[in-house]
Symmetry: C3
Subunit: 335 residues, 3 copies
């Protein structure tokens, strides 16, 4: 009972975070028809800076990390991406009014990872002074790429089966390359490489990290406006998408938290790291995933999978899952 009270009070206190206020502010602006807009060029630069900052920091820390510590969390991250897609295909994919293609694309997006949600988690952990392995955010691609690939492969196989043909060989190599070439993963991996090789501590601290919180607040505003704008699209498709978009982040986050806990016991993965893993599991891809899946599963209807992800999944991940898993960790690890 005491645990529950702790959990509730911790959860409520997260809701007053400034980061969340910007997300909600963006929704309110869009709902009231404000003409305020963040120029697209600035929006894309902001995402670049956030991902470079995560990458540079991660790269510098991986250099000093013990590889054996990294291996298990990275393996678990990939496992979560795979489980998320399979779960989505088996649940959403069997519901009435949901096409196979749409189910695979939606499951792929929800298995993949969101840089904005990850950034929120990092800022919240910093504010609460909960330490985490600086390489933990670099688990991103280990979960992101397998989820996107599996979703596209399953959709291709399903299509081949349906049309009675022998399954075309799906060009997995091409999907991986396409993923790595996306602007989000390129920026993250470039940051990791530069961080690992050149140790750019000064430019990271004096620029990328300096602008991190401010740029994140602007990004949250855009996310809020986008979420509201996409809601009308989502309304036009089956309601199952909205239900899935509420349940999936929490479910995936719990799986992430569970596997993170196992890594905590086995290799000493920190409680902060467990929260990071849970939150990237709960997040859904909002920047790099949509174009990849659009190209990879051309038969899927963007209104369903992008609508579900942007207008419901992202707000749930940021506004519900971040405080939820921080509160859960506070109770479980007695932080």
């Amino acid at each position: 009972m005491d645990l529950l009270a702790n959990f509730a009070s911790s959860f409520v206190s997260q809701l007053q975070s400034p980061t969340l206020a910007f997300l909600i502010g963006g929704m309110v602006l869009a709902a009231t028809g404000s003409k305020l807009a963040i120029p697209d060029a600035v929006y894309r630069f902001i995402i670049f800076v956030l991902l470079m900052s995560i990458g540079l920091h991660g790269g510098m820390e991986i250099r000093e990390a013990d590889p054996t510590e990294l291996a298990l969390p990275a393996l678990f991250a990939a496992l979560i991406g795979v489980i998320a897609v399979l779960l989505g295909a088996q649940t959403l994919g069997r519901l009435p009014g949901v096409s196979k293609d749409d189910a695979y694309a939606t499951a792929g997006l929800f298995g993949a990872v969101s840089a904005s949600t990850l950034a929120v988690a990092m800022v919240v952990l910093e504010e609460k002074e909960i330490p985490f392995e600086a390489w933990a955010p670099a688990l991103y691609p280990f979960m992101d790429i397998p989820a996107l690939i599996l979703a596209i492969v399953l959709a291709s196989l399903a299509k081949a089966k349906q049309s009675g043909e022998k399954a075309k060989r799906v060009a997995i190599g091409e999907i991986i390359k396409d993923s790595l070439r996306s602007s989000a993963l390129s920026a993250l991996l470039l940051g990791l490489a530069i961080g690992f090789i050149a140790e750019p501590r000064e430019v990271h601290e004096g620029f990328y990290d300096l602008l991190f919180r401010g740029f994140l607040s602007v990004l949250m505003l855009v996310m809020g406006m986008e979420a509201w704008a996409r809601l009308s699209e989502l309304r036009r498709v089956a309601h199952w998408y909205a239900a899935y978009a509420v349940i999936a982040p929490i479910t995936h986050g719990l799986i992430g938290f569970g596997l993170g806990y196992i890594a905590h016991v086995l290799v000493g993965f920190s409680p902060g790291g467990v929260i990071i893993l849970a939150i990237i599991a709960a997040s859904n891809s909002d920047i790099s995933g949509p174009p990849t899946l659009r190209a990879g599963i051309p038969g899927a209807n963007p209104s369903s999978f992008i609508g579900a992800s942007t207008s419901v999944g992202t707000p749930i991940a940021i506004a519900v899952c971040v405080p939820l898993f921080v509160a859960l960790a506070e109770v479980v690890f007695g932080l």
Copy 2:
């Protein structure tokens, strides 16, 4: 005589401020045909950051302010907006070669408020270490909205009268909504709300306030270039607009200073606050006002009212009124 000498020396010292140098630099660049341009996307982001910074800070301070202190300055701000429009209509509107519509639109712009001029005033006060109520910049919408509404309503009534028809009901609600939805007021009000509710002190200090001066210097450059570019437009219309654009800011500023002084005596409004009130009274809307008035008074000629405001009114407000009212306050309040 001593007072006059003090005033003159204080006025001259303001003229060497770096902020002003950027404004003049912009004019020189435009006059010499330089190809330097600040990209529009960056310009719009800069305005967003400045207004968010003013809003966030104001919101945090309103939270701690005594509401009774706020009431009188806010009332006076609205009064100044109304007086400015009525004065403009009765003076500029009676001059030869000036159409009614143009007079109302110009008076509306000069009654409304400029975020850039306000930002300059804040930086100058900070540099001179003159304290002011942090909520004082939040007086902005109290003056801005009544001025814009009154100008549009008066223009509609005049048109109805002229055409012999019974006055159409002017949709005041719509004008207010349109004002509030403009990108400038949206950003300011969003900042106020987030500042009031979430107390985002860290992101304000570490990002919005950090970039404030630098972004303002870039904005001044753009303002200077714009001012010069608009001069040729202004030359094509009656010279009365230029005369009005010189006299109105000083007159409105003096009214603002006078009412601010009354608030100083009655409720202890600070000398810095009096300067802020005088300067937002002296300023004219350069970002949100023009599109609102363009839509609200379609018969007005943009060359006159935007020309007068951008090419003469804004430079007068920044380069003459800011040092003028700081110097006046130094003499009146013995700062």
Copy 3:
């Protein structure tokens, strides 16, 4: 032998600099077909901030500098610009498959100056704690303008001679005005003027200088991507351009170093200043030069001169000449 070992170790250590890592990272991204792109609006704003920062700082320092100290380095800078163009015309211009127009345009670009290379040099000197006269970067226009003018004048004369006509008077005044109006030189000169007149120390330190390194890292990324993208263009023209683009920066840099050394002996020009002079001599114009030469020598083929400069000249200047001349100075001056 010891000198050579010192030189080699110093050279290698430069290669690990974070700034260089971003340049190489940009090349790798372009080579692997990444979709990452820095929006053009942001790119242009970054260049503006870098040049304003150099200008503001230079202007503030010139104010305090002894004019007699400045005179000789400025004269040498102009001399280097002239020598570089003449050298290029006499070497590249005599090679088979190279048109006169192309030779003059290429020599003009390599005689002119690059803001990005200059910025890299400044950051490297700061990192190595090698002091330099803060006005040294302001030598930029003294070299840039003569080189561009001479290249255009020589091309015009050659054309007139070839067509048997009497040489048309080349409008030198127009070329100078066009150079000064270019966005790069406008920003630099505006910064110098504001720095000299208004002493904007606070906005320089709190904004322009604060963002310098970070913005430079982003610029390096763009330069790297551009360099790779232009390589294919370069391949289509005579190979002599590539050879010239490797040899010219090193040759010009050595001339700059030599003249800088003379200024060191005669007027006490600092070792750091000598490095700056050598590196702006080694650099080639990547931002303002191309459009000026395109307009001034319309018969030249942009694939040759812009290809040679962007894809080979700039990487050589940044990745080879910067470490080379720092290492040379360390040996020569015993730093």
